[in-house]
Symmetry: C2
Subunit: 211 residues, 2 copies
DNA sequence: GTTATATCGATAAATGAATATCGATATTCT
DNA sequence: AGAATATCGATATTCATTTATCGATATAAC
């Protein structure tokens, strides 16, 4: 049970969690690092090292206990209690996220959305109200919300970011294709499609050139 | 102008590209590694090293030429010619992607979407036709499409993945929250929201505990 | 023209992550 | 019970990435 989880390891955790939950559904009780590695396209040693950092180990000849591992990983990821979040920007992407049921599984709960456009303010999406941006701070403070999701166009993302920070948000999930500046204490996770596309494109051109 | 770009460096490229395009709009001609680092929250040396791998350098006392850098980065990322792609799964996320105008900027062009649900087959989203999945292979082969985007539920993602590979796709952008298996030659880029959430949650719990 | 300064590139050192090795241990088989 | 085996954890090694150092060079100031 290591004290600090490396960022790379952390990023693999959801893969493990996903697989383990499937196994759990299939009533599989034990699982070895080797078989996890096989199914996930990783190597056994890496799996063992990753798991060592969150769980207190498996047993020789038996492996790990699936259900225990699930609990351990969810705990390490902070999935145990639901994290409330607000979303700013009720456009296409924003509404897609609002209606995405899967977040609950990860312990994320979007409580409300905010926008400035009078056409969408007052409506709701999948049961989640879209409020005027001026109500943001009040709601965040009253509900002690710590996670903010930004789905506005790039040009106003920084303004929204500042507003969120002002409202007490300390973790920001940014879908706008721009770099946001904030104090070091604020975590900003950029969900930049361009990054993924860059990797794909680069791979693709490399592949096409080699032939 | 290095021969191989590391994955970490590659992931930072869109950040640079973004900033440089802004500078270019503001008619800024030259830029130094140091100022890029400041604006992006990186360190100067890292910026210099990253840029060295794609451009053939800046000049002392002057820095880099903004417009040249943009060209160099876009070339390195393979953004120069438009990459055609197909999308499978015309649900919420699928349709959000279909209507997202920003992809053009990154050189990605979704030519058509596929689904199995008769209710959506035959309709279109933002001018893009939604076809029956059985037409997938034919269209990909005729149009020599190499990129596939998966936005179906997790339980059928693997089947779709296999179909795409069979249709000649060599780069897959997977939005389904599951691990996909394919031959090593096929690049699979997982856009797993759970990964980002994991990082956020982990940071958040760490932050809340330290106080 | 000479000197000072900003900024670069190349090389070296430090850090962090992935992989390999090996001994230890729980179960199974004889 | 004792040997064989699967599987683990700890430590060591290799590899990748980041950060530091330093000399070189283009411009600006004097």
């Amino acid at each position: 049970m290591g004290s600090k989880i490396s960022i790379q390891t952390l990023q693999r955790m959801p893969m493990y969690l996903n697989l383990l939950k499937e196994k759990d559904k299939s009533e599989i009780v034990n699982i070895s690092a080797g078989s996890i590695a096989d199914e996930l396209g990783l190597v056994e040693i890496q799996v063992r090292k990753d798991l060592a950092s969150v769980s207190n180990g498996g047993k020789p000849k038996i492996g790990y206990i699936v259900s225990d591992l699930i609990v351990d990983i969810e705990f390490a990821l902070g999935y145990t209690d639901v994290n409330d979040a607000v979303l700013v920007g009720a456009g296409r992407i924003g509404r897609a996220l609002l209606s995405y049921e899967g977040f609950k599984e990860y312990g994320l709960n979007i409580v409300a959305a905010f926008d400035i456009d009078e056409k969408v303010v007052g409506t709701d999406e999948s049961g989640k109200q879209i409020l005027h941006i001026e109500k943001l701070k009040d709601l965040c403070e009253r509900m002690k919300i710590r996670i903010g999701i930004i789905t506005v166009p790039a040009f106003c993302a920084q303004v929204v970011c500042d507003m969120l920070v002002d409202a007490g948000i300390i973790a920001i999930w940014n879908f706008a294709p721009t770099y946001l500046k904030a104090h070091d204490d604020i975590m900003i996770k950029n969900e930049n499609m361009a990054v993924s596309l860059a990797e794909l494109s680069n791979h693709l051109t490399a592949k096409l050139l080699e032939k």
